[in-house]
Assembly symmetry: C3
Homo-oligomer: 149 residues x 3
Amino acid sequence: MGVSLKDPAVQSYIVYSAILALKLIALSSLTGMKRITKKVFANPEDAAALKGKVNLNDPEIERARRAHLNDLENIPAFWLLGALYVTTGPVAAWATLLFRVYTVSRFIHTFVYAVVPMPQPARGIAFGIPYFIKWYMGIQVILHYAAAL
Amino acid sequence: MGVSLKDPAVQSYIVYSAILALKLIALSSLTGMKRITKKVFANPEDAAALKGKVNLNDPEIERARRAHLNDLENIPAFWLLGALYVTTGPVAAWATLLFRVYTVSRFIHTFVYAVVPMPQPARGIAFGIPYFIKWYMGIQVILHYAAAL
Amino acid sequence: MGVSLKDPAVQSYIVYSAILALKLIALSSLTGMKRITKKVFANPEDAAALKGKVNLNDPEIERARRAHLNDLENIPAFWLLGALYVTTGPVAAWATLLFRVYTVSRFIHTFVYAVVPMPQPARGIAFGIPYFIKWYMGIQVILHYAAAL
């Protein structure tokens, strides 16, 4: 007994997880482009190569870095919990809905955090919905496998 | 040949990994609650919405953030190494013991780091035991699949 | 239909992912050793236990921490994308080549960043090659499973 790559919930997990992975690593490029545009770097060798200066407190760049860190705090946990959740045999349409809402919300989170900063509660909502989805999936997984504790 | 969801080592991996995922993301809430209680935020829009101020150097909040970062540096590597380790066919009782000790130690780590800060070596021990478990599992995996290098 | 642990691409994924996991967590030890050598710590309880002082701005230690964070921003995304990529049925020799180049490049990245800091573009190249490999694998995965969007 295992999971099948033909299971629609598994395929949905795979495609949304891959999108989230590219979205996560794209934030490296976002920060990098802001550094090059503003000529503000974290390392002296970067500043030397690109005729910029070292500054670890530029507000715009620190904001992009916080958005990146927030992705790191959330997206790998989704990869794990989503993979375990599909092993519990959820209805595929429901699992797909969760993965879709999760993915769209995390894109909105980055947008309102680091692309066009917006007043709260924009970011709070875009953080809270996928956060709640992770708790839901995690609790389902623990209940399903509780006998293995 | 693959892993079966009926294998007790696999089920144990799943349930402890899910617990660790919820524990990891719970640190977002811990930091958030401390921010709201102390009215100290990282972003001007948060300070504006909650009548607080921006401060990136509050010792208690920075401590919670370091505990969170330490989880990020350790728990995703456990998810990966634990999953690969169960594919090497370990004795289920032994694998379960490792996962259990790992999980309990990481809870203690967070407790002595950010909930009730304690003198060393409390945190060092709570870091070292699960760190050693990851090295053990990783080396077992590499030895088992060394022919694929 | 699934993936087999006898598939050479799967075995290659497993062994290189395990190596990258140990490499990632080894950076905790690198930073720890630098802290102990320089007697510079992030927490007052650590400084008290080891007769050092608290300093969050030591350039050498901050450099090691940035190298560690860069691994966190990249290696977990490789674990996810590599695992999904092998489910798309790539030619094993090609997948193995990607995993090998990825792993070697990330070791070089850490070396030129935090062990023997070197002028750019050393670190830029060592970052760019594995970054491109992740994008390549992610796009292959999304194209293969696009029907599940």
